[in-house]
């Protein structure tokens, strides 16, 4: 009994140590975001514990959120870019995954392998050709341009993940629906979508984090104009031409982090269930 108790204590202690090590860097950022510029360059953030006078300030957040080039507009833009850029690829991928899994058509196998093979393509390759095409049809700088781009870059993974899940759904349910006269579309809408929720939610989180935190795609297709730029773009321009305004950057980074973190916290259950569904039985 004694050995078990000790090892339990040891385990808990180790876990606590791990948690501490993992969260300390982020705590450092959080504390720094409340410090003034001078304080940041002259002393480490941990000194606020030993020396808590005066350095605490809300100025950084104020400037970052409400200042002339504040993040309020950028926040709305990020929202406008992210929500459709998450839902659209999921929708398209779900249709495609169902098609590959449960419909018969010539070339099904070859096409599916091509889709998965496209996972290897780094997105930097696509930037210039796509930009040129967008300009030819005057699409650049619009939200649609970015949504489609994110859809394009995320579809391979989405289709792959959703296929893994949808192909594992119980065959009998689907067959009996067909017997009852349901069309593929109805089956998809009434049966597959609800049943695939874990996988859909899981990919949604992945895609949400990826799009929200993306810098490259938004900068290239939407631009850095203050009224359309997303938060990551604004953050990068925010370091200012006066060298590095670290105090603004820390507050800005924190602000941009809050939403993804909250989304993740709210939905982490689905994340795991969905991803795993393809690789573990039952």
């Amino acid at each position: 009994m004694r050995t078990i108790k000790w090892s339990r204590v040891a385990i808990n202690l180790t876990v606590i140590a791990l948690i501490v090590v993992w969260t300390v860097p982020t705590i450092g950022l959080f504390i720094t975001s409340f410090r003034g510029k001078q304080a940041i360059s002259n002393s480490g953030w941990w000194t606020v514990f030993t020396n808590p006078q005066g350095a605490f300030t809300l100025d950084n957040y104020e400037k970052v959120l409400f200042g002339g080039d504040g993040l309020a507009t950028a926040f709305l833009n990020t929202l406008a870019v992210t929500v459709p850029a998450v839902v659209i690829p999921i929708l398209i991928a779900a249709f495609a995954a169902y098609g590959f899994a449960w419909m018969q058509f010539p070339g099904r196998r070859v096409l599916f392998i091509t889709v998965v093979a496209l996972l290897v393509v780094p997105l930097q390759i696509a930037l210039i050709p796509v930009l040129k095409a967008y300009l030819a049809i005057d699409l650049n700088g619009t939200f649609l341009a970015v949504w489609l781009a994110h859809a394009g870059f995320g579809l391979a993974l989405a289709t792959y993940l959703l296929y893994n899940y949808i192909s594992q759904l119980p065959k009998d349910i689907i067959e009996s629906a067909a017997l009852d006269g349901a069309s593929h579309f109805t089956t998809f809408r009434r049966l597959i979508l609800p049943l695939s929720m874990p996988a859909l939610a899981s990919f949604a989180i992945f895609q949400f984090l990826w799009v929200w935190n993306d810098l490259l795609v938004a900068t290239t297709f939407l631009g850095t104009d203050q009224d359309v730029a997303v938060m990551t773009s604004r953050l990068v321009s925010m370091t200012g031409s006066r060298g590095q305004d670290w105090q603004l950057l820390t507050a800005g980074a924190f602000v941009s982090m809050i939403v993804p973190v909250m989304v993740f916290l709210a939905l982490q259950r689905y994340f795991v269930k969905g991803l795993l569904a393809g690789s573990v039985k039952g």
Binding site: I128, K132, T224, S237, S241, G243
Partner: protein
């Protein structure tokens, strides 16, 4: 299914009827009116400066907007040069771009992306600028493409005036005197130089300024020109000599605050602050005149009393101290009357007035009113610019991009970081010069 479809149709019809109204876009496009009236037109300008500098630029061009009704929209982006290349390749560059590098201008001109300046603008340049500025805006085909607006003067050494004089130091006028001053400072316990060369994707550019300034002072105007054009390769003894003189300072950890490791990871705008700390950590900053905008706020509020400056001394008294300058040139990616009107405005001294007063900017116009400069410092810079015996443009900016914003920067960083010696550095840079 039928019923649902019908409902869908009904709703759709309703929405289409009401939704059509929101499509008229206010002021869309930019169709120029007939005749000379340009009001309602738009010119987009792209550049690399943001924040305060962007605000000052917009204030400087406002008189033009008010007088003509043209809407000039400036978009600043720190990674402007890279973005611009993407935009040009994809076919949607801004109407006007403020290019810091003649090398970039020559690239775009040779690709046929730029429109040459009409004769009346070239005549305006001849009338308003001193010698040299037109040449820097000219491409290989002999046509003039660039208009210079805000410029900067390099090889200015700044120091904290009060403490400097309290220690009994005096500004050196020759290179030997500089070396003596350095030795004295070291003996007194503080490193002489504050240097930082980090700058994101452009890390390394301040080193190239140092090397160019030394080259100007050791090989003179002609030697400099053949080096910049590529006729004298980087592996030449004269270039090696310049690098050596630079490394005598950069590589010596007693002479620079923090030593080489600190230099390579400290931002160029942060490094000078150490000279105004209390206690100060180093004395001298060799930079362009624009660096005053990066000094600590209390220092900037009282520039003339807090900051002293001397020009980087001559190395060879026969050559003296030439003025090394840099600046953004405005080039046109499209051919429209409002664009030319804007560029013509930029060639006139009016375009600089409000910025002169705001401080932190220098203009090359021969007939500018020096009294507009807000500080004695700025006035002095402008004076030496206008009076300079010979003027040479920042070399790395004039070299081909692969070198000037490529290997010249990255190989120098490696040199200072101790990853390789001078010979290897020069060989690598020379090898990257486009054939």
């Amino acid at each position: 299914m039928q019923r649902k479809l019908a409902m869908l149709v009904g709703v759709a019809a309703l929405v289409a009827a009401c939704g059509g109204g929101a499509t008229t876009a206010p002021g869309a496009g930019g169709t120029p009116a007939a005749g000379g009236d340009l009001s309602g037109t738009k010119v987009t300008v792209g550049g690399a400066f943001v924040d305060v500098e962007a605000t000052n630029f917009e204030a400087a061009i406002k008189p033009f907007e008010d007088a003509t009704g043209v809407d000039v929209v400036y978009n600043g982006d720190k990674s402007f040069e890279q973005q611009l290349n993407v935009q040009v390749q994809a076919g949607n560059p801004p109407d006007v771009a403020l290019l810091p590098q003649p090398g970039g201008m020559k690239n775009y001109a040779s690709q046929g992306k730029l429109f040459p300046l009409p004769d009346d603008i070239v005549a305006s340049i001849d009338a308003n600028y001193g010698p040299g500025w037109k040449e820097v805006g000219t491409a290989a085909d002999g046509k003039v493409y660039g208009v210079f607006h805000r410029v900067n003067l390099k090889a200015q050494v700044f120091y904290p005036k009060v403490a400097f004089e309290a220690k009994g130091y005096t500004a050196p006028t020759t290179w030997d005197e500089l070396k003596t001053l350095e030795a004295k400072m070291v003996a007194d316990g503080t490193p002489p130089w504050c240097i930082g060369i980090e700058s994101g994707a452009a890390t390394g550019w301040p080193v190239t300024d140092w090397v160019e300034e030394i080259m100007l002072r050791t090989v003179g105007a002609d030697g400099y020109d053949t080096w910049v054009s590529g006729a004298t390769p980087f592996t030449d003894a004269s270039v090696k000599n310049a690098f050596q003189i630079m490394m005598d300072i950069f590589g010596n950890k007693d002479y620079v605050y923090g030593g080489p490791q600190y230099i390579v990871q400290t931002n160029f705008g942060e490094a000078p602050k150490a000279a105004f700390d209390d206690p100060l950590k180093c004395w001298l900053t060799n930079q362009g005149n624009f660096i005053t905008a990066f000094f600590p706020d209390p220092t900037q509020a009282d520039l003339d009393n807090q900051v002293g400056v001397f020009t980087l001394p001559a190395i060879d008294s026969a050559i003296g101290t030439p003025a090394e300058v840099g600046g953004d040139q405005a080039v046109a990616f499209a051919d429209r009357p409002e664009i030319w009107a804007f560029l013509k405005y930029l060639t006139t001294p009016e375009a600089g007035v409000s910025w002169q007063k705001a401080g932190g900017a220098l203009f090359p116009y021969k007939s500018q009113d020096l009294a507009n400069y807000s500080s004695a410092l700025d006035k002095a810079f402008a004076q030496s610019l206008v009076d300079a015996s010979f003027v040479r443009f920042d070399g790395s900016d004039a070299m081909p991009a692969a070198v000037g914003s490529g290997t010249f920067w990255t190989e120098s960083v490696k040199l200072i970081n101790g990853q390789q010696d001078i010979d290897k550095t020069l060989t690598n840079i020379a090898a990257s010069w486009p054939k």
